[in-house]
């Protein structure tokens, strides 16, 4: 992953311009909604892959998403705190939660599937806390941020216009990719790759194992909380089932594995595939499609892990990279 060659800059700029302009020019509400949803979930999946790609497989990210969404919405409804402050507060809470859970894990060398199971408890805790504090959060029935009169307000971070949401989601998604590339080019990446290969060897080579892992975990948790807050503000409704708990955590893992864990756009491809598949089934089969989408997701997840562990985009890019190398050799 070297710097992008100069000739490709024009291509990237063109692609970016197309992403901004085309949907806005088209403007039909339903496709816009699908694209906003894809972008928000792409960002969430990218956040998960930030640590997933270094072998830190978390099943607790549903919890971080829930924290981001609920803290923002609760601060707005109960304290009148604008999401512009509420979202940073939510991110802070997610970061603290990540520290509390991840620090002992990393300190005591809980790795691999042990780590996955511990974080699974985290998803469970957040879900149960939301359900248990139903007086405040509405429990399993869900929660709605109070709408401002008129529907749109910058201070309240509420917009009725889909185009505004599209641009916000696009910007956040792009920021997610920028963070991904920033990590890709940092020393942190080498440290974390060394850690994922062999923790003892990395520590012997002078890598502060616990600190490096904590850093990426906190970054990942805060990004995930951001996606939760964004989802809540866009949908104006959250329920524990949609933004927290084990299903959401597994859904993140699934989409990333399908798209490709080790490439920047893998999670995005995963989101496109899963959301379009879900929508296609919903439209194709109507209400009788309940369950069929997850049935196919689950089956695909198993098939992908067995036959295509690099994911769709990862495998394509791997094949492309190999072909020219063979030709030149």
């Amino acid at each position: 992953m070297n710097a992008i060659p100069k000739g490709k800059v024009g291509l990237w700029a063109g692609a970016a311009a197309a992403l901004v302009i085309l949907p806005l020019a088209w403007g039909a509400p339903y496709p816009m909604h699908i694209m906003i949803t894809i972008l928000i979930w792409s960002f969430a999946y990218t956040s998960w892959s930030m640590m997933g790609r270094f072998g830190l497989v978390s099943l607790g990210h549903g919890g971080f998403m829930g924290v981001g969404a609920y803290v923002t919405a609760l601060a707005w409804n109960n304290l009148g705190l604008s999401p512009w402050l509420g979202i940073p507060l939510g991110l802070l809470c997610a970061a603290l939660l990540a520290l509390v859970v991840a620090w002992p894990c990393f300190r005591f060398r809980i790795t691999g599937h042990y780590f996955a199971l511990v974080t699974l408890a985290l998803s469970g805790i957040v879900l149960q806390v939301i359900v248990a504090t139903r007086g405040l959060t509405g429990g399993s029935l869900g929660y709605t941020p109070d709408r401002v009169p008129g529907g749109s307000s910058i201070i309240a971070f509420q917009f009725t216009d889909k185009a505004t949401w599209y641009l916000i989601a696009l910007a956040v998604w792009a920021a997610g990719l920028v963070i991904w590339y920033a990590v890709e080019r940092s020393m942190m990446r080498y440290a974390l790759e060394a850690i994922s290969e062999d923790e003892d060897a990395a520590a012997a080579a002078g890598v502060n194992v616990t600190a490096e892992k904590l850093k990426i975990t906190v970054i990942s948790a805060m990004m995930t909380a951001m996606s939760g807050a964004l989802y809540c503000q866009y949908q104006m409704f959250v329920s524990p089932d949609t933004v927290s708990g084990i299903s959401v955590s597994l859904q993140m893992v699934f989409a990333v594995v399908v798209g490709g864990l080790y490439v920047a756009l893998g999670p995005t491809i995963g989101a496109v595939i899963t959301i379009l598949l879900g929508e296609a089934l919903r439209i194709g089969f109507g209400p009788s499609a309940v369950g069929w989408d997850n049935l196919i997701y689950g089956l695909l997840l198993v098939v992908f892990i067995i036959f295509l562990p690099q994911g769709i985009l990862g495998s394509i890019m791997g094949a492309l990279r190999r072909t020219p190398a063979r030709a030149s050799a």
């Binding site: 072998g55 497989v57 099943l59 509390v100 859970v101 002992p104 894990c105 005591f108 060398r109 809980i110 691999g112 599937h113 042990y114 996955a116 199971l117 511990v118 699974l120 408890a121 985290l122 998803s123 469970g124 805790i125 149960q128 806390v129 359900v131 248990a132 708990g245 084990i246 299903s247 597994l250 893992v253 699934f254 594995v257 309940v290 369950g291 069929w292 989408d293 997850n294 049935l295 997701y297 689950g298 089956l299 695909l300 997840l301 198993v302 892990i305 067995i306 562990p309």
Partner: protein, 289 residues
């Protein structure tokens, strides 16, 4: 305060009875983990299918509880074998995390399969078992039965593992995976048998749980995570550790649920789980060293 104490005693007794079923669930998971070194994330979903099997055999086909139970146990045992042959064995050589995620995919698959096949209605056997009163403490007969059957199941497993040839081979493999293959033990066969036994334990748990809870496609989520936490806290693969942890968790849930809501009981149990990781990570590390 005497009034409160009776409720406390009742909660403690109920916790003990709940602990029996949780211990049974943890036992199956620990067996699979200890022997095959794979965590079946979808374990609770196997239990859910077992509960549906009970419902269909006992209510829809009218076979009666005592005929439905062995059929269901055998059915879930076969599911365990299928899970192993179709999903786990192709992945035995790949990273443990991939095996974990694959069983996560199976969790989704089974949940949705149940939704598609059985719908999202809550179903139950329609059996109302009486309540027993012992010294002012009310004990549900269903829970007592579950506790007794869970204990019997555990004793049977213990005897199987210690008194039979296959059981000895299973224990040996859990101690050293490489050497046993060299000693002439067919590991694949042992893995299949272990999966069948693990599945059968899930089936047994299903027969007991269906007496107390309604079955619906998402019922697995209500006790799947807790089972995993019990296993992790006891040390994954460590059956005795899991057994003790099951009762600790059950008491926390039951007593916590007495003073606040049931969800708070779960919250306390989860927080306790994470706190224990600060205090006693050995529980988690017991099998790794």
């Amino acid at each position: 305060m005497g009034f409160l104490d009776i409720f406390l005693v009742e909660a403690l007794v109920n916790g003990l009875l709940l602990g029996g079923v949780l211990a049974l669930l943890a036992l199956g998971l620990n067996l699979i983990f200890g022997v095959i070194d794979v965590a079946w994330i979808c374990y609770a979903e196997l239990v859910m299918f077992g509960m549906y099997a009970m419902y269909y055999f006992a209510v829809v086909y009218g076979l009666g509880y005592w005929i439905a139970a062995p059929l269901s146990i055998a059915g879930v045992g076969l599911m365990g074998v299928a899970l192993h042959l179709l999903v786990i064995s192709p992945l035995l050589a790949s990273a443990p995390i991939n095996q974990l995620l694959a069983t996560g995919g199976v969790l989704f698959f089974l949940q949705s399969l149940a939704t598609v096949m059985f719908g999202i209605d809550f179903r139950n056997l329609g059996i109302r078992l009486p309540t027993i009163e012992v010294a002012d403490v009310f004990i549900s007969y269903a829970r007592l039965l579950a506790f007794g059957a869970a204990l019997a199941g555990m004793v049977a497993l213990y005897l199987f593992l210690t008194r039979t040839y296959v059981g000895t081979a299973i224990r040996a493999i859990s101690q050293d995976r490489q050497i046993m293959a060299l000693m002439g033990v067919d590991t694949r066969r042992i893995y299949v048998i272990t999966s069948a036994v693990g599945g059968a334990l899930a089936g047994l748990a299903a027969c007991l749980l269906v007496l107390q809870y309604d079955v619906h496609p998402f019922v697995g989520l209500s006790f799947g995570p807790i089972t995993f936490m019990i296993c992790v806290m006891g040390g994954l693969g460590n059956m005795i550790g899991g057994f003790i942890a099951a009762f600790i968790f059950a008491e926390i849930i039951s007593v916590g649920g007495l003073y606040l809501d049931l969800e708070w009981g779960y919250v306390f149990a989860f927080v306790f789980f994470i706190a224990m990781m600060f205090v006693r990570p050995e529980g988690l590390l017991a099998r790794r060293s």
